[in-house]
Each structure stands twice: as C-alpha cells, then as structure tokens.
Amino acid sequence: MTPFPDEFVSDRLRYERLCHDAVDVFALHEVYSPDEETEDITTYMPWDPRQTVVETAEFVDWCEAGREAGEHAPYLVRPREGEDGAGEIAGVTRLECDWERRTAMLELWLRKRFWGRGYSGERAGALIEIAFEHLDLELVSVNHQDGNDLSKRAIEKYVDRFGGQYDGLLRNWGPRPAEGRVVDAHRYTITREQYRKAIDDSSIDRGP
C-alpha cells in the first residue's frame, strides 16, 4: 500500500489507479493503438501510439512498478455519470513525484472527443490537492511542448487560477527518438503557499 490514493473523484471525473487489476489491457490498447486520432494526440506528447497489445501491457507494468517505487501515480480518467461518454476511458493522467525536490509533475492526455470540456483544469485541481494536502509536497510543475497551443491555454488557465507562474522555456528538453529530434518545452510551477492562498482568497471550488 503506497501513499497514493487508489481512486478519487472530482466534480465530473473519476480517477482509477492504472494497473492490471483495474483495466482490461485490450480495452486500454484500443485507446493507445495507432490510428488517426492517436497520431494527432501524440503530435505534442512524449509517447507514440503503441503498436501491439504487448506494448500496452508493458506500459501498464511500467505504471505499476513506478508506483511501487514511489516515482509516480498513474490514473485512468473516466467521466462520471451524467457526462457524455460516462464510464469510458477519457484519458490518462500521472502525478510524477520527485521526493528529493519535494516536487510533483503533472501529466495528462485526453482522447479528442473529451477535449474542450475543461477536464484538464478539473483534473489538475484534483491532483494538485493530492500533491500538496495529502503528499505534503512543496511544488507542482507542468510542462508542455513548444507549439502545443491547446495545452498551453489549458495550463495557463489553471496555473493562473492557483496563483502559479510561467518559469520559462526549457530548450532541448524532450527527446523524441522516433522522430529523430529533441523538442523544447515550457515549464510552469505552483508553490504550496500560492495554492493555499489562491484557495483561501477566492474560496473557489477546485473544479474548472
């Protein structure tokens, strides 16, 4: 049993620990296998569509091992009842922990039909609360690849809402071996103090 919650919810979304027990690997492979959609989604992502179900199974192994080692907590994101596509896998999010740096890094990808609903911000609010209030970390960071304007807008919105800042451009940050290049990334951070102040000041709910 690790300090990461097995499952939790936000207003419109449910988060389940990504592990072999929680998801049928063939169902997960459906959303990871190569097609027009995943090619599109991964344009600005650090991963490529998974060619075979074995690759997807190995990804789940990696999720489980990293969680046991305290490196990250990966979750399946599913819309809750009442949402269009309720119960489906809308995407995957991870809270990556760098304990020595007291820092959590957020990651998310969503299937295209779930874009534009404000899910990214809602999910960020839930993970940030876990990072600060449950895991007692000091800093949350998030990156997006240079040129990924949709992620940029979503990130700017919630970083601003929680009182964080834009740190700058990280040049040659993300290796993309399959494409034979290394990409630049933009980094944003929110401190625990900024987060608590933003929550106190506005009494905002932690949703979108």
């Binding site: 300090p3 895991l135 970390l137």
Partner: protein
C-alpha cells in the same frame, strides 16, 4: 513458527493499545504527521527520532518495520490511547512507539520507548516497556533485556533507571 504467530498484531495495556507497525496498521500520512509533531517538540531528546523528510520516507519506514518482523528481527508497536484499531488514521491518537529488537543468539532483546512530548507523565512509557519486557521474557523466553539512552538525555536516563530499579536490573 510463522512471524505472524511469533509477534502479536495488537496488544492492550491498562491505558494503551499497541498496534504492530505494518502497512495495514497506519495511514502513512498519519505516521508522517505524528513524526512531524515530534520534530517541533523537545521529545526528540528522548530517543533520537527525527521527522520524516517526505511522506514517501514514512512509507519506506513502515515497509522496513514490516520486513523486520517478518525476518523475526524485532517489532515496533504504535501506541495509541484508543482500543486496538484496524488502522490508525489520526496522528493525534498516537502517543508514541515501543520497539523490541531481538538478538536471538545472545538471548537478548533491546527495548526502546518513545513517548510524545506532553504525554510523558501519564505512565505510558512504563506500561509500554512492561509489555515489551513481558514479550521478551514470557513469550520469547529470552535471558536479558537492555535499555539504551543517549548520553546527556536526562529524561530517558531517569526512565531507564526507574524501570531497571522496578524490575531488579542493573
């Protein structure tokens, strides 16, 4: 004999519940908070135990404790004032820990009691230590129990002396 049979999971004394520290025993965040509370008080000079740096460190501490009793090297109990709980979730209910380390080939165990600042004069330390002594002598049939305290740690020395005197040791 299995480690499970060798070392009981819960024990009760007059005022205290002892819960063997393993991953089912305590919410890691509660343990982390308990040790953080220690760091803010002078309880640190009782036995050297510092706050956990991270929640993950608290988690690893629990895994280590679990390995230790599985290997029959020793056991640590959380002390709470509640009845023996399935899982300790509130740091406020933890008043301390008692630790028994067994050196089977020397027929000896060492006992360490840590009581949270503010709970010292409640007789908790003595009760916890008596139970550890009973485990060592009555259950494990060992020949000797040792108590250490840091040089200059006067409250710990006074407690060790009190206990040794009460049980006719030296």
């Amino acid at each position: 004999m299995s480690a499970e049979a060798l070392l009981p999971r819960t024990l009760s004394t007059e005022q205290l519940a002892l819960r063997r520290l393993d991953s089912d025993a305590v919410d890691v965040r509660a343990l982390y908070d308990y040790r953080s509370a220690f760091a803010d008080s002078d309880a640190l000079d009782w036995v050297a135990e510092s706050a956990f740096e991270t929640v993950w460190e608290a988690h690893e501490f629990v895994l280590d404790a679990e390995d230790r009793w599985r290997e029959r090297e020793g056991v640590r109990y959380l002390l709470t004032t509640d009845p023996p709980l399935d899982e300790v979730t509130d740091a406020e209910t933890v008043v301390g820990t008692v630790d028994l380390s067994c050196e089977w080939d020397r027929r000896t165990a060492s006992v360490r009691v840590t009581i949270r600042d503010g709970e010292r004069r409640s007789g908790f330390a003595t009760e916890a230590a008596e139970h550890a002594l009973s485990l060592a002598f009555d259950r494990f049939d060992l020949d000797a129990v040792t108590l250490d305290h840091a040089v200059g740690n006067d409250p710990a020395r006074a407690f060790a002396e009190h206990l040794v005197e009460a049980f006719g040791g030296q």
